[in-house]
Symmetry: C2
Subunit: 433 residues, 2 copies
């Protein structure tokens, strides 16, 4: 393959956490990697394409560390309901009817929304994962995929699901030019009995893969865990051996000091899902305490049925806003920290060491937002604007693995009209089945 | 003037609070009024233009009930700071330098952002209000304007500012084809001594105008009010006679039960500003309690320096989300209620009886959002999508007083390129003065 090398000039680049969080200058991309970024013009080489980046703010692609993409088919199907009514009368009966086709079109709808909105990597835990992987392969997005397994079933069925999860993880790890990695994912401690849960830990050891699960999303499930096992969820999962593997838990809303200390000691990541936690009234995670303790906290949208969109700019902003309001401290989660949660910490949380930052040697997963718009003026602090003022719809261009997948707001890799049609049709069919 | 009558067919119309919150059918507009809305086709009249509304969701225009438009010039200028540092080191020194020109371009930037984002009416409390009124006149937006007066000055200066506020209110009330109304607005009980505050109450009586002020935004100002006057702010303002006038207070974050009862008894509106209250870490207003008590609660963005955008969809969503998360009740502030806060209750709060709803006899202030987008599919519950999934940038068309002001996302009444340039230039000049 011929080397593809190009340089952006006049760009502004977001490097949160550095001395100069918005750098103006040059970035060079060679094939799938960023090879240079700096204020000084790189040495001229004939044949290298130069692209003008004026009027654009370049950011690392956003990393969505928890979700169920296919659930976009249930967006708006049962809002403003009590949690158990929502689950038992709305979500579960519909999800039971999901076929591989439904998962394919629901995931396509979500991936299209994520790409157009600047998300370049997403974690997905669901069923019919082969179909999800197909969408990832086709669309050009990067993802960490896993069959999420609920253990409320016969032992035979449990073993069948476990085998499916293992097979999927083994088959797809490293596929799609390395854009797909996999994890092992029992759904939650309250949906998987201990003896079943430990089989996943063993599988993760056997395959040398990290683990992911839902944990401590609601107060009720924490109380149930204590009643059933005499332990709060963190100690319970520690006892089952999960944290002997690199691990990420979703939600972590209800944690005490001791639990935060255990998570920090094992460097277990927490995917904070502020939109979903607020909408389902689960509560507000202790994010400032988690970060202070050194826990890698990243951001996730959760499924679109409890969000109700997959706009990671919104999750950044919610994270930056609600923890100020709750703590009474307007300096809590400043803009650069919110952005790192959505990028660098996100990548770290899902064990991708080469994405999440604009730096030489990193994968060329980056986005450009159009800053010449009323709500992004004046150009005072562009990093702050990206966090507090921008939205998914300000994304102009998206590159993943060095390939452009969104150009002037249009997705280059997916058939948007077909996906819109099929997603609507799938929803209507689900209602009638 | 020739009568301008037209009908939309195949539209979907949001009517929150009704039995059929999303109605499909026809809406007729005659000059500045909505004259028909219904599922049944209105009788055919020759010469009446028929417009196809497929793929669009029509909503009442959003009503932003508290803000300081010119402050958009300070967007991103000092975020993530302690409140007093932000005010004393950042906002006040810059605002002192604001000229009428700065107010003109800052307001233009904000009005442009609001129009493009579906806000058709805004309340503005600031200085150099003649320049604000000019922008309103030119842009086609509807507004309630007032000179906000801070009383930290000599008696002579106080009287000068009061006279200015009165003159402005008298001169501009009912102007711009009735799109401008005015109010009387002492800035806050903590910035206006009681003897000065009562002069505004008297002026409001003399001019028969409603009143607006900031109230109980921070815990500290409530404590200060008690220390200075022996009363909490609501009782203090009641004692000063403010509530003998139709009134709206901004923020109302720190209220006790007795204060809520007083506000309800006098039907004093509260402009809830969730984005600003979270960002400045002021706290979280008791919105569900206020609504339950019968207080008209509306939504405001506050100035862009503490928000940091003027996206009323975001305020709707924040209102619908945070009160669920705080109360632990996922049924709190359901989507139709959040939308009524941003439309119908907003209009009521600023004493406009003929805007805020899509109904015959109401002013033709309405917007259309493009629902054929990935994040707004499937078409399950479009009202819910408007609240939980949409953003300012989904607005396709805007009409105010029957005139189209935004078409396919472009503002028809303002020179966007000029405003962007002048706003940036104004900010740079302020930095150097």
């Amino acid at each position: 393959m011929k080397s593809n090398k190009w340089t952006i000039k006049n760009g502004r680049y977001v490097i949160p956490g550095s001395d100069k969080p918005v750098l103006t200058g040059y970035m060079t991309i060679e094939n799938d990697l960023i090879t240079y970024i700096g204020e000084v013009e790189p040495p001229f080489e004939s044949g290298v394409e130069i692209v003008d980046g004026s009027r654009l703010l370049f950011m690392p692609g956003l990393v969505n560390t928890h979700g169920h993409a296919a659930m976009s088919l249930l967006r708006g199907y049962g809002d403003d309901l009590a949690l158990q009514v929502w689950l038992q009368e709305k979500m579960w009966p519909m999800e039971e009817k999901f076929t591989g086709q439904d998962v394919y079109w629901g995931t396509s709808l979500s991936v299209l929304e994520m790409l157009k909105g600047g998300t370049t990597t997403f974690l997905d835990m669901y069923d019919h994962m082969d179909r999800v992987a197909e969408v990832v392969e086709l669309s050009g997005i990067r993802s960490v995929l896993m069959r999420g397994v609920i253990g409320f079933c016969s032992e035979e069925m449990q073993n069948h699901k476990l085998a499916e999860a293992i097979e999927f993880a083994r088959n797809w790890h490293g596929k799609a030019d390395g854009r797909i990695t996999t994890m092992i994912s029992p759904h939650a401690p309250y949906t998987c009995p201990p003896d079943f849960f430990v089989k996943f830990v063993q599988a993760a050891h056997d395959l040398d893969l990290p683990m992911h699960t839902h944990m401590s999303e609601t107060r009720r499930e924490v109380e149930q865990n204590e009643a059933d096992y005499g332990l709060r969820p963190v100690a319970h999962l520690e006892k089952l051996g999960m944290f002997t593997r690199p691990s990420l838990v979703a939600h972590g809303v209800h944690l005490n000091d001791e639990e935060i200390e255990i998570l920090a000691r094992h460097q277990v990541g927490v995917s904070h899902n502020p939109g979903s936690n607020l909408k389902l009234a689960s509560g507000i995670a202790r994010v400032t305490d988690l970060l202070r303790a050194g826990v890698p906290v990243s951001l996730g949208t959760d499924g679109a049925a409890s969000n109700n969109n997959l706009d990671m700019f919104e999750e950044m902003r919610l994270a930056a806003l609600i923890h100020k309001g709750i703590s009474g401290d307007p300096t809590a989660i400043p803009a650069p920290e919110a952005m790192r949660m959505a990028t660098e910490y996100g990548a770290k949380s899902i064990f991708l060491n080469n994405v999440g930052r604009l730096a030489p040697g990193m994968k060329a997963d980056f986005i450009a937002i159009d800053i010449d718009q009323p709500h992004l003026l004046p150009h005072s602090d562009l990093l702050s604007h990206a966090v507090y003022s921008a939205s998914a719809k300000d994304v102009e261009h998206v590159w993943i693995n060095g390939q452009q997948v969104v150009k002037h707001g249009k997705c280059l890799t997916m058939d948007e009209e077909m996906i819109r049609h099929k997603a609507q049709e799938s929803f209507e069919n689900l209602l009638q089945r």
